[in-house]
């Protein structure tokens, strides 16, 4: 069930209403039922996978806990638990890898052998990915690792754990929650609070605005240009690339807003996933603001473990001794950085575009790390004030551009297509008037202007938030006519300007050609 559907809105309304009607101690149980009902709307067979993950991780956690509690030697317990943990990881990540990447691997192995004229054609799996598998698998394994590390005790109730894994607002797009943050909230009794309802609803509305007015609209142009990229000139290509960066941000963060808004209406606080990523002044900072629950997961469960391992320490010592300087010091961080970002790229999907996207980010960040002292010397030499607004703006634009190019690699039809588009986008010459070129990419003038205005609203809101002002309370503090005007304007914008219903292509306005 898509969040952007009448069905979902009705489902949510019913769930929230009943949620506050059922006896408080059964609220979590009701949520569990609701979450599974939501999950089932995707298909019965998907149930198998989420249940498998839920049960294996739950049992693994209990097992580890029991061994810890009963063992006299911490070290021995850890040894056994490590095996249990690895078992869980292999099983669940194995399933994820298989379902998500098998076809990709099969096709590429076939092509590889094809180069040598060997005919190797592996059968392909014809199955839709279980809903949210990329998210709940990570969430479950994060829990396992936390239990292994003694961060908290294993959950003893299977249904409560099942709710943590299947909680419906976050099942489609995350955020990837931690058990010590979400678990207790799911267990608490939630009393109706007017503010939760209103603020949650407002957040959801903002999400719908971003998705339906900005993202889906930009998507029309992006789809058209990316799928027919040869026909468009440099400027057009560049515009499409930038709009893709806007689309994916509005789409994803809009979805997260719907998720968090829905959860808030039930009194549950899900971690935020975005912190105005396009305001970052470096790619490293960008990844601390974009899809934060994923990057934090990677940091805590991949990056830090690798960098703090004994081997890493040895490399560090070796580097400091034999290479010295910045590089020697950073050496142990290079591999984990590389691994982390490549994994992030791959996490997005099975395709060369995603892999290269991951590599691209790794390289940019590692190069940035390596050249830090060089850049520092340049800045002092050129008398550049790092704290000045000008420098900050430069950082933002530079980073945005780097990410636009990176995202193009992940979105284009193929790697050659991506490179072709990137190469083309540097030269902005083209035939015909500017107006004509801009309006022949799938969106007419009116839509382009609306997109610009809506994005402008988005940017202004982001600037306000970046300054530390929380928007919903700020609006709520204004006099009634002002706030109601704001809420109505938002709702009306979605209703009128939302991309839904009959057609956006010129051919749809057939009724005008009597």
């Amino acid at each position: 069930m898509s969040f952007v559907s009448v069905g979902f809105l009705i489902f949510l309304a019913v769930v929230i209403f009943l949620y506050y009607c059922v006896p408080k101690k059964f609220q979590w149980l009701f949520l569990l039922a609701g979450s599974y009902a939501f999950y089932l709307s995707g298909g019965l067979y998907m149930l198998f996978f989420i249940l498998l993950t839920t049960v294996t991780v739950f049992c693994g956690g209990l097992w580890m806990q029991r061994i810890k509690d009963r063992s006299k030697s911490k070290k021995a317990a850890k040894k056994i638990n490590k095996r249990i943990l690895l078992g869980e990881v292999f099983l669940n990540f194995g399933i994820l890898l298989l379902l998500k990447y098998y076809n990709f691997a099969a096709v590429n192995i076939g092509s590889f052998f094809g180069l040598f004229h060997y005919d190797v054609s592996l059968p392909l799996i014809n199955m839709v990915l279980p809903l949210g598998i990329s998210f709940y698998t990570f969430q479950a394994i994060g829990y396992s690792i936390d239990v292994y590390r003694d961060k908290y005790k294993a959950e003893t109730s299977l249904p409560r754990f099942a709710l943590f894994i299947s909680f419906f607002p976050q099942i489609i797009q995350g955020p990837i929650s931690r058990y010590d943050q979400l678990g207790p909230q799911l267990k608490e009794k939630h009393y109706f609070q007017y503010e939760n309802l209103t603020f949650g609803l407002q957040l959801m509305l903002w999400g719908y605005f971003k998705k339906m007015v900005i993202a889906d609209r930009a998507g029309v142009l992006v789809s058209q240009v990316f799928s027919g990229y040869e026909q468009y000139d440099g400027l057009q290509t560049f515009v499409a690339m930038v709009l893709y960066a806007i689309q994916i941000y509005a789409d994803f963060s809009g979805g997260i807003d719907m998720t968090r808004g829905a959860a808030q209406m039930m009194g549950i606080d899900l971690v935020d996933n975005f912190r105005r990523p396009y305001f970052a002044t470096s790619v490293a900072e960008y990844w601390r603001r974009w899809h934060m629950s994923l990057t934090n997961w990677m940091r805590d469960y991949i990056f830090f473990p690798i960098t703090l391992s004994k081997r890493s320490a040895k490399i560090g010592k070796w580097g400091k001794k034999h290479i010295g300087g910045t590089i020697g010091k950073q050496l142990p961080a290079y591999l984990p950085t590389f691994v982390t970002f490549t994994l992030i790229g791959i996490w997005h999907g099975a395709g060369w575009g995603f892999i290269v996207y991951g590599l691209y980010n790794s390289c940019v960040i590692i190069l940035g790390m390596m050249f830090t002292p060089v850049f520092k010397r340049m800045k002092t030499g050129l008398h550049i004030n790092e704290k000045s607004n000008g420098w900050m703006v430069w950082g933002i634009l530079r980073t945005f551009l780097i990410m636009v190019y990176g995202k193009t690699i992940s979105r284009a039809e193929s790697l050659p297509a991506a490179f072709s588009m990137i190469r083309k986008s540097v030269f902005w010459f083209g035939d015909g008037s500017l107006l004509h070129r801009l309006t022949s990419m799938g969106l007419n003038g009116a839509n382009l202007i609306l997109l610009l205005l809506a994005t402008g609203v988005f940017i202004i809101a982001s600037v306000i938030q970046e300054k530390g002002i929380e928007i919903r309370p700020a609006i709520a503090g204004k006099p009634l006519p002002v706030r109601w005007a704001a809420y109505l304007a938002l709702i009306i914008s979605i209703i009128i300007f939302g991309v839904y219903g009959e057609g956006y292509s010129a051919s749809e306005f057939v009724y005008r050609n009597y």
């Binding site: 503010e195 007419n444 929380e470 009306i492 219903g501 005008r512």
Partner: protein, 394 residues
């Protein structure tokens, strides 16, 4: 701790709803008020973003719906072949019969049954239904979505506050099924027809006018006759067709099926059903098809007035050089001649009351006046040369 203290001093920013001292209106009341406001806004938007009524179809239906129950003697349905030819006010003025025009541009035959059903809801005692069958000649593959919507968007969505107009739903389903079978290239998502707003909310980007923003619904002012400044006084010299009595072999089975369905439905009606084919510059091919359809209809027991015959043209007194606005439609002068003939025919063959003098029919008297007022005005403008006409061949 520090945070809590800060919260207390700037409490307004963080817990507005809980500060009852500030708000005088309790939350529940505010919510209801807001929802009411939202609903009103919604209703307003639904009325702004509706069909673009280029051909006046919505206005025609609005005029029909505004008629008092059981005040009409009949309806006249068809495409522009209907609404440019039959002048209800002229017929009323001369015979007292009240037969409203329910023609819409390129009205698909498959929808005609449903239009009749719709009319019967409020006019179940009407005496006669006149059906212009020129639409049978349409190439259904070339159907435009607008041709369906001119009818289905103009129908009321609800029969009464709690009752959905099922007839409209049936009409949409039937039309889409038929045109899918004809491979017409239109939108087939039924929801977009059930809920026109799903399509029309997009009108913000193209053709929304100030008139739309008033969300007012206008009615056709001549009981369904479409009287336009640019067309009705237009004069085009039309080449008289060569008439033939030959009939073609009817091929298209789904089209004849639709016609059979309509005929079957009409057979079950108490009303007198008269089929007509209004005159225009008809081709040989078209005539042959028409003759075949005519035979079919007559076989089913209905009378067909095919005006595309030399004798009929003479009886109408229509002149090809002066009475047509274009090759397909008569101008207002031709329409008056056409209405004159047909109203006499109907008077003779159907028992129709004479409502002239009946004080309940004041709206018809007013419509007659309006007609002549406009005619005089347009004639004056034409003489002065200030009227922009589609054709002005004399």
């Amino acid at each position: 701790m520090q945070k809590e203290i800060e919260n207390q001093t700037t409490g307004q920013e963080n817990c507005p709803a809980e500060e009852k001292t500030k708000k005088q209106i309790p939350a529940a009341f505010r919510v209801i008020l807001f929802l009411v406001l939202l609903c009103l806004t919604g209703v307003y938007l639904l009325n702004v973003f509706d069909m673009k009524d280029d051909k006046g179809a919505e206005r025609v239906f609005n005029s029909f719906y505004s008629a008092r129950d059981d005040s009409l003697d009949g309806i006249y349905i068809g495409s522009s072949s209907a609404y440019r030819f039959w002048i209800p006010t002229f017929a009323y003025e001369n015979t007292g019969m009240t037969i409203s025009n329910l023609g819409t541009g390129s009205q698909p035959v498959v929808l005609q049954k449903y239009i009749i059903k719709e009319a019967l809801k409020s006019q179940k005692n009407m005496k006669v239904i006149v059906i212009d069958i020129r639409s049978l000649l349409n190439n259904d593959k070339r159907l435009k979505e607008a041709d369906i919507r001119r009818v289905t968007d103009a129908f009321h969505v609800m029969d009464s506050p709690l009752k959905i107009n099922q007839n409209r739903i049936d009409a949409i389903d039937a039309a889409l099924d038929y045109f899918r079978s004809q491979n017409a290239e239109i939108e087939y998502t039924k929801a977009y027809y059930y809920f026109p707003f799903l399509k029309y909310h997009n009108r913000w980007q193209s053709d929304l006018t100030l008139k739309d923003l008033t969300a007012l619904h206008f009615r056709n002012r001549y009981k369904g006759f479409v009287f336009t400044a640019s067309g009705s006084l237009s004069v085009k010299k039309v080449t008289p067709p060569e008439f033939t009595d030959e009939a073609a072999e009817l091929e298209d089975s789904s089209k004849t099926e639709v016609l059979q369905d309509l005929l079957k439905y009409c057979s079950g009606l108490d009303q007198e059903v008269v089929f007509v084919l209004s005159p225009y510059m008809i081709s040989q091919q078209e005539q042959k098809q028409m003759n075949a359809y005519t035979a079919m209809i007559e076989e089913a027991g209905f009378s067909v007035l095919n005006f595309n015959k030399a004798s009929k043209i003479r009886q109408l007194g229509i002149h090809w050089n002066s009475d047509f606005m274009d090759t397909k439609h008569v101008n207002v002068y031709g329409a008056m001649k056409y209405t004159e003939y047909l109203m006499q025919y109907l008077k003779k063959h159907v028992e129709l009351p004479d409502h002239r003098g009946d004080e309940n029919y004041e709206s018809w008297n007013k419509a007659v006046e309006r007609f002549y007022t406009k005619l005089e005005l347009l004639e004056q403008m034409k003489e002065e040369g200030t009227l922009e006409l589609n054709f002005n061949e004399t």
